[in-house]
Symmetry: C2
Subunit: 341 residues, 2 copies
Amino acid sequence: MSADGYTVAVAGATGAVGREMLRMLDEQNFPIRRLVPLASARSAGLKMDFRGTEVEVAELTKKSFAGVDLALFSAGGARAKEFAPAAVDSGCVVVDNSSAWRMDDDCPLVVPEVNAAALEGHKGIIANPNCSTIQMVLPLQVLHELGGLKRVIVSTYQSASGAGQSGIEELLDGARKSLAGEEMPAEVFPHPLAFDSIPHIGSFEPSGYTNEEEKMLFETRKILGLPELASSATCVRVPVVRGHLESVTADLERPVSAADARAAMERFPGLVVMDDPANAVYPLARDCVNRRETFVGRLREDNTLPATLHFWVVSDNLWKGAAWNAVQIAEELHNRGWMRV
Amino acid sequence: MSADGYTVAVAGATGAVGREMLRMLDEQNFPIRRLVPLASARSAGLKMDFRGTEVEVAELTKKSFAGVDLALFSAGGARAKEFAPAAVDSGCVVVDNSSAWRMDDDCPLVVPEVNAAALEGHKGIIANPNCSTIQMVLPLQVLHELGGLKRVIVSTYQSASGAGQSGIEELLDGARKSLAGEEMPAEVFPHPLAFDSIPHIGSFEPSGYTNEEEKMLFETRKILGLPELASSATCVRVPVVRGHLESVTADLERPVSAADARAAMERFPGLVVMDDPANAVYPLARDCVNRRETFVGRLREDNTLPATLHFWVVSDNLWKGAAWNAVQIAEELHNRGWMRV
């Protein structure tokens, strides 16, 4: 970092998440001397606005990182696999939003409110967890501290924006066509999404789970430092534009009251409790859009078991689930003096 | 029953479920001598078509049941509480679709494929379970027979039609308005439903669960004959027009392979297995509409526990979840010679 800030690259700058990364860096007043937006050859040459200045998108190559201090990647797994090591070789710290490096033992997998300390001694590549995992581990960390986490079961209600801008467009186009009695498209999603719910996000593994579901298991274990945690996810795409919603069951080692859990969640950074069901208050997708926080509601004790709690957790998958968590990691690296390979 | 069939009343005949009851009775060639459609005073005098004949809707009163052998009720809990005993006093057998009588020890709660035998010795009122319960207990009964059911966790994806025709209209109107950038209605549902998901169906109990969620616990226990079953439901309204979808976790006493469970479900009456994820085959709402069957997919063993299975179950909430299950009960009563008080 020179006196006037870092040189920061954003790889995948023109995508749905990349654009939000630029916005977050700006809104956070992150100390940036020079911004380097990178994208595929197709998007190179595009002009983007950053802090009132026009910057030109360059093609992402192995030579893109000379003189760059920090690179935020949201360019997919294949590009992260190919380009992140080259960036690190150039002396650049990488925060990658893809799944490419998440389970690598040399790469911290970080949700700052939960495990910022895992950044210590990083080797250049830091992984941003999957959107559906990030929002869930905040309340789970609270419950783990209170009662010891034994098992997690989650069913998700994930929005079209998880598949990028083309996912949003396919949902809205499909809804319009359905209302007009026309056939609905299914190119981005495996089936028409409007007015239905599809239990299929990502690709299927031999286990019968999708890779999205397995990410929620393995990433949660790594972030919480609980390698033996029993857990299962069912990931479902619902016709929501933006924001992921999740129904979560947590079995604990020791009974914890819903009241104690609620109070602890209210104190936890990044969490907002919206839990007044008598007045129909619980988080909805509409509540989380363009918000950095993760919202929790429907917190209740199990009717039949002594040490089980259930809750509903909602967050903006493009913000806390992606761009904002990545920028938070960058801020931690900066504040702790760890912005170096 | 006279030689040419029963006199059959349908209370709530003009509602979304009542209309499907008439259709099912017709399609099943149920032995009907005379059909008596009943509704509130507001709808009395309306003409309905049944088997090519016009029949006039009469007002539901305590005197409606003279000479009636069988009454299918889909008129809400308050009317069922008020009018079902009067019907039974007139010598009429009642199959009630509301929650009014379900937990009464004198009233069998029946899903015919699972517990038709519970109809024996009935005292006149037979309860039809809640839509979200019915579709879940079919695969659960299979798993219970194979491995002994210990615990059930379910998150639902329930359609607007569960709130009747006005629910469907509010969803479609809301979707149209949202696409046009206009404000969405929220009169039937507690919040605008289009492009969101609402974890609130029914009303909240002191436990923090909704009554819809508690129905799934208590009704499942009664139907399966497992009064101690550990179970928890999270019921969520999604912007789907018709058909309920559910993500279910079943903990068993003994390990059962997904393959064995799948084979047993394929043999079980009323169940259809749609489970070929490699080819994106799993049940969707669009698959179940106007179908009597319950559809199961995403059947898989837990990645972390030895005796846990997960599945996805989908059914038409207006058919198997309501009208068809009621007509099935009527057929059982007829076939077993139990159509008498």
